[in-house]
Homo-oligomer: 249 residues x 4
């Protein structure tokens, strides 16, 4: 029984999620969806007690899971015995597990503390980390590590161009639109929104010189700002095709 | 006569559209253009009777086409005889054909039901599906199937980044701008519009912390959000050049 | 003298612009800049007579050029003799030359007709077409011709996705925002602005269903809409590197 | 002592920054951050004397650095002796060094002259230029030089498309929205903002013909406008992988 529980809570040899892990995974996903919906006033208003009950149920389920894990983990030589259990309780993922449900059971008002519930998102990662689904996350991690120097340089270049653009517009429009361009930090906001081509339109140059500067800056430097995008897309595409080749063999 | 009709309503051996198919194709396109124009009040207002007449004419044409198909389909061994005709009537494309014109002839007021007329767009596909023009659609279908794992992973990653960005801004600006960032679903709208670089500007962070977060998030993650774009563009470009090579041989 | 003029008005054997051609080229550029500046009321207001004089001078210069060309073209066997001159006058580029200055000399009020002056932009192309600078334009023309099938397909796909997105939002928000989504043509504007990631923000979905649809549509299909961009960029980059290789040999 | 100072102020043989250079580098960065923060009224208001003091301290530090450099530079054969020192004082980087601090020590009110302080950004480059961190900047410089013809052509093409789009919208909406499209320069602003997909939304076509033109222009030409981005991204990615290959050998 203990052994079955231990196996079900661990990862299968073929690195698939076990049936129990899948059920827990679904519960975590459902509890995150509950948090998302609860945060929306037009949904939660008038249904506070319903959400409180749902949160209690999830808290109770995660409590049971926590106890089961604590009980079964003894089979792992690293955490066997009483000392091992104490060691497990203070392990990184066990603390995340605890934080993600304990407050809601102990203090009902803690239910309002959104930040604590965000830990459930971390739980998703802690479950995923050992499964085969993690290969994708490892892959993107590898791409970022592989191309780190290029990416760092390209991102620094991006920030450099954003900074210079911000200084240009600060000098050009700082006095005419003090609210939008009256300081470098304010101009930085405009420069980021413009050079990433988001273009909210909350801050727009209005003078002739400001507009001419913007035209020259954007046409000349959007290409440079898009370099990290190109590096990441190319690196990721490459890594995935290599992974595929490796699988085909 | 029956045989000629059957050939004209089918696809030619060289997978070209027959002359009759082309005429029907043009009628479907015209009927879709009519629907588009009719939906615009400044065009349809005062011309309701004209549009009603046009719709009746299209309905009648599609009725004749339907009867012809029903008559000629007997030459197809699968649908020969009375039982075969009944089978044909309940086949997928025959039902689409029927829905796309029948309501407008039977109940004039059904003409207002826009949704039923959308089926005519499906008819376009049903006609195209067997012609050589379909190779393009098959191609894009193949690219999506080929790169499905990569695309799914990249799109999930995109949604993950959008979700985390939404949570960040919900925590940063939720209380200052409850209308825009007062819940995670509301923040999700902002996060999607920002990270896809659409940037409507209907919801814009206004606090210093919100803006700094947005600058860091956008510069760091627009590259990741653009990965599906890169995968699709590369895959499509590759598939097209292979298709060309195959044709050149 | 006539021969010198003919040579100067033609293209040099090494396909460089001759000195006279360069002078004319600069005059055309200056006359276009004049047109651009004149169109701006804050610049032209109060300076109407100045601009009229400048336009007269440009018109006179282009008249002299036209007469010189007509005189010198006789050395071209195709246009020699009186009949050849008549033939030249009715040739495509001679008509463009004539339209680009004649109205401003004959009827002063024609100066206000902007459209006629746009012909001067065409003159730029007519001058460029034979020079070595044209290789770039020929190149991009070749890339577009080479990838025509792919581009046409990708652009049709783009319009297809834009159309379907427009229909979705028309059904979702047509009744709530009739001004923005009250008909398919209106929704088409929104769909184009959104899927090209321009995002003006003049029309924005406001309902939950409209926003959810937009999130799903944009994340899934921005990749597809960006395919023509990828094809063009790749094709152009390829063609340029091949051109370089050819030159290096 | 003099030799130690000279070595510390120069670049190490392995082109790493020396310890002293790092300290100076950090001081320049801090002084730039101070300038950025000081420009923001909500931060500087009431703290003017604090910022004045900080600026004095930075000015004093940079004065000491300047004197040290002037003293130690004598070991460089090019700048040895009195004449060499004079030559050094009028060298490009020494002038930048001087401008970046002298005015703030001599005239306190010069502290308000933002432009002079921008020279400190130049100092960052002057320090970086000899270090190994400069390889990245040299690399991007090389990529731009390598692809100069392609980039220039693509950027000219971009401006050409922007110009033609601006003329189209000027003709279509110039009379209906004189503020936004009433002249070609005004339309140029709209065309740049639209074709770079920034889309502020401060100027939006409102007529049917203007919107149809915009739809056709954007779908057809966003691909062409994105060519410089593609060229830069590809060239940069290529150059970085070659650099890596060279290092691996």
């Amino acid at each position: 029984m203990k052994e079955y529980l231990y196996k079900q809570l661990s990862v299968a040899p073929d690195s698939k999620l076990t049936n129990l892990s899948r059920v827990i995974y679904i519960f975590i996903l459902l509890s995150i969806i509950t948090i998302v919906l609860e945060s929306e006033p037009s949904i939660s208003f008038g249904n506070e007690s319903t959400f409180l009950t749902i949160n209690y149920i999830f808290g109770f389920i995660f409590l049971i899971e926590y106890i089961c894990r604590l009980y079964a983990v003894g089979l792992n030589p690293e955490y066997s015995g009483f000392a091992g259990r104490i060691k497990y309780i203070f392990s990184f993922y066990a603390i995340i597990d605890l934080i993600s449900f304990a407050p809601f059971l102990l203090i009902p008002t803690a239910s309002e503390s959104f930040l604590l519930r965000v830990f459930r998102v971390l739980r998703l990662f802690s479950l995923l980390k050992t499964s085969k689904h993690a290969t994708g996350l490892i892959l993107i991690g590898n791409v970022i590590r592989d191309k780190l120097y290029e990416l760092m340089f390209a991102i620094m270049l991006t920030f450099g161009i954003i900074f210079i653009s911000a200084v240009c517009l600060y000098l050009a429009e700082g006095e005419i639109q003090p609210e939008a361009f009256g300081s470098i930090p304010r101009s930085l906001w405009w420069a980021t929104v413009t050079l990433t081509t988001i273009g909210y339109g909350d801050m727009v140059p209005v003078t002739a010189i400001g507009k001419i500067l913007t035209i020259l800056i954007t046409v000349a430097s959007i290409g440079i700002v898009a370099i990290p995008t190109g590096i990441l897309a190319a690196g990721f595409s490459e890594a995935l095709s290599e992974l595929k080749k490796g699988k085909d063999k």
